[in-house]
C-alpha cells in the first residue's frame, strides 16, 4: 500500500496481520497469570501454545527488522508474560501435598545422609562433652543449662524433687496452650537451624552442639541419681520426634553450608540454590514432627505417668518415624514431581490429537 508514491514500512503490515492474535494471547495470559492454567477453557488451552510460539517468533522478527521501539517493547513484555504463563505456573494437583509428605520428604531426607550423620554426631558430641564434664565437676551444670530453663532441676535439688518433676501433672487445663507454645517455639528454632546454614553452616553446628550440651547435662543429672530409666520414659515419647527434627533441620542447614564451601563443579550460587531447594522439604517435614512432639509433650506427658505406656509410645514413635524415612517414596514418583512444566504440553497435545 504505497500511497502517494512513498512506501509503508514493512513493520506496519507485520503488525496489522498479527495484532489480533497478540491481543487474544494477552487476555489468556492475564487469566493464567492470576489463577493458573486451569482457569482457561478448553479452546484457550488448545490455542495458547500456538499463540505463544507465534509471539516468540514475532518478537525475534521484530527485534531484527522493526524500527519501532513501541512495538518491540510491547512484544518483549507480552512474550515474557506469556512465557511465565506457559512454563512458570505450576498446576497443583489433588494429593500433591500428600505425595510430598509420603514420598518427597523421605527421599530428600535420605539424600542428606552424610549431613544427617554429621548433625547427629554434633549433638551426640555435645551430649558426651556435657556428660563427661559434669561427671567430673557438677559445677559445670549451670554453664550448660540456664537457671530459668532448669526450673530447680539442678545438682542441688533432692532426688525426690527430681523424680517428682518427671511425674508432675503440670498445669491443669492449660495442656493445649502449652502444646501449641512448644510447637511454635521449637518449629521456629528448627527453621532457624536450617536458615543459619547460610553462614557456611557454622551457626547451625553451634546450635546443634549447644542443644547436645543441654541434653547431656540433663541426662547426667538424672543418671547420677539412678533415675535414667524414669527420665527416658519421660523424654523419649516426645524426644524422638523433637530431637530427631532438630537433627534433621540441622542436617538441612549443614547441607546448605556445605554447598557454600564445596560447590563442586557448579557455581556457588547454583550449588546453594540446589541445596536450599532440596533441604527445604526436609524442614517442612520437621515442622510436622515438631507438631507431633508438641502435642505429646504438652498433653500426653502431663497426663500419662505410667512408665510402660510412656515406653510403648516411644517405641511406637520410633517405629513409624523410621518406617517413614526409610521406606517412603521408593517407587519412583519423583519424575512426575520434577517436570511440572511439561504437563501443559501433554494437555494441549491431547487436544490437537482429536483434530
Amino acid at each position: 500500500m504505497s500511497q502517494g508514491g512513498a512506501q509503508s514500512p514493512r513493520s506496519v503490515a507485520f503488525r496489522r496481520e498479527r495484532e489480533a492474535e497478540w491481543t487474544r494471547l494477552e487476555e489468556m495470559v492475564e487469566i493464567a497469570l492470576r489463577g493458573g492454567l486451569r482457569k482457561l477453557d478448553a479452546w484457550q488451552l488448545e490455542e495458547l501454545p500456538r499463540l505463544y510460539r507465534q509471539v516468540l517468533s514475532s518478537l525475534s522478527v521484530a527485534r531484527r527488522t522493526a524500527m519501532d521501539r513501541a512495538l518491540v517493547a510491547y512484544l518483549e513484555a507480552l512474550a515474557a508474560r506469556a512465557y511465565l504463563a506457559v512454563y512458570g505456573t505450576r498446576k497443583t494437583r489433588r494429593g500433591a501435598l500428600l505425595e510430598a509428605f509420603l514420598h518427597t520428604f523421605p527421599r530428600r531426607f535420605r539424600a542428606l545422609g552424610g549431613e544427617m550423620l554429621l548433625s547427629a554426631g554434633i549433638v551426640a558430641l555435645g551430649a558426651l562433652v556435657a556428660y563427661a564434664l559434669i561427671s567430673l565437676d557438677p559445677g559445670w551444670y549451670d554453664t550448660f543449662i540456664a537457671p530459668e530453663l532448669s526450673q530447680g532441676r539442678d545438682p542441688g535439688a533432692p532426688t525426690e524433687a527430681l523424680r517428682a518433676a518427671l511425674y508432675d501433672g503440670g498445669m491443669e487445663g492449660g495442656e493445649t496452650l502449652f502444646a501449641s507454645f512448644l510447637f511454635a517455639h521449637n518449629a521456629k528454632i528448627g527453621m532457624l537451624c536450617f536458615a543459619l546454614g547460610f553462614a557456611a553452616g557454622v551457626p547451625t553446628a553451634y546450635l546443634l552442639f549447644s542443644n547436645g550440651l543441654m541434653l547431656g547435662a540433663f541426662v547426667q543429672l538424672y543418671a547420677s541419681r539412678g533415675l535414667l530409666f524414669e527420665l527416658m520414659g519421660w523424654m523419649l515419647p516426645h524426644g524422638i520426634p523433637e530431637i530427631g527434627a532438630v537433627i534433621f533441620c540441622g542436617a538441612a542447614g549443614l547441607h546448605l553450608g556445605r554447598a557454600m564451601i564445596l560447590p563442586g563443579q557448579r557455581s556457588v550460587a547454583d550449588a546453594i540454590g540446589e541445596a536450599g531447594r532440596r533441604a527445604s522439604i526436609v524442614v517442612m517435614g520437621c515442622v510436622f514432627l515438631f507438631a507431633v512432639a508438641g502435642v505429646i509433650e504438652g498433653i500426653f506427658r502431663q497426663s500419662v505417668t505410667d512408665d510402660s505406656i510412656r515406653y510403648a509410645l516411644a517405641l511406637f514413635n520410633f517405629t513409624w518415624l523410621l518406617a517413614w524415612i526409610a521406606l517412603g517414596g521408593r517407587d519412583g514418583s519423583e519424575a512426575r514431581l520434577r517436570f511440572g512444566g511439561t504437563r501443559i504440553k501433554a494437555r494441549s497435545a491431547s487436544g490437537s490429537e482429536a483434530a
Binding site: A6, R53, L71, A77, Y83, R90, A100, M191, L196, E274
Partner: protein, 296 residues
Amino acid sequence: MGGPAPQKEPRTVEIICPEAIPLRFELGSITARTMAFFFDFFLLTFSGVIAIVGMVLLGILSGMLGPLGLGIVIFFILRQFYFALFETLWHGTTPGKRLLGLRVISKDGSSLGVDAVLTRNLMRDVELFLPLGIIAAPEQLFGDVPGWIVLPAIGWMLVIFALPLLNRERMRAGDLAAGTLVVFLPKPRLLFDEAARTSYAPADGSPGLVFSPRQLSFYGEHELETLADLIRKIDEGKVEFADQTIIASTIAKKIGFEGLEPWQMPTLFLRAFYKQQRAELEKALLFGKRKANKWE
C-alpha cells in the same frame, strides 16, 4: 564522536526459553520490593493480631485455655508461612507483590516449585528478623557469648541483610538459596503505530511528500524514536503549532528539503518523514545495516 547521552535503563535479566529465544525480564527494584514487603508484613501482622484477640475473647467467654493455644498456632502459621502460602497458591505473588506488579520467578526459567518458595521464605528469619532482633535485644540472642564471636556474627548478618545491593540480580539470601528472582512484570501496552496512518496525498493526484533516499539517509534509529515520541505528543495536542514548524524546518534544512510544507503543514510533514524514514531504515535493516543514530 559523541552520540546521545546514555539513558538510565532498568536492570534486566535474560532467560533463554525452551524455544531458544532470549527473553528479557526487568528486575524488581529494591524500593518496590521493600514496599511490597511492608504491605504484606502489615497485612499478616494485622490478621495475626486479630486472630489472637479473637481467640483471647473466645477463651475468656468459654473459660478455657484451648482457643489461646489455637491463636498461638494461627499466629505462628501466619508469620512463618504467609509468604510461602501466597507464593505457592498465587503463582509467585503475594498481595503486596501484586500491588506493585512484582513476581517471583525461577532463575533457570523452569516453573516455580513449592520447594523454592519454601526455601526463599525460610531464609527470611535469618536475613530480616534476626538482624532486627539484634537491634531490639542483643543480649537475648547472644546471652554471654564472648565478643569475638558476636562481632563477626553481626558483620555476617549485615552482609546478608545488604546482599540485594551487592549482586547484579538483586537477589536476597532467600533468592540465592532458592534460585529465584523477583521481576517487575509490567502489563504490555501497544501504542498507536504512527506509520500506519494513511499518507498525505494531494487532491490533484501528485505524489505528495516524497523524500529522496539521500534525504532519508541522514538520521538513524535514535532520531527516529525521538520523532515517534514527538508525533505521539502532537496527537495528544501537547505540541504547539509554532514548535512544530521549528522542528519541521530544522529537519528540512538538515536534509536539504526544499518546499513550503514544513512551515505550512508541519504535522503532515513530520508524519510523512517519519513513515518514509522508518521504511528506509527497515529496508536497510533487512540487508543487515543498522544505523543507530545520525553520527554513525
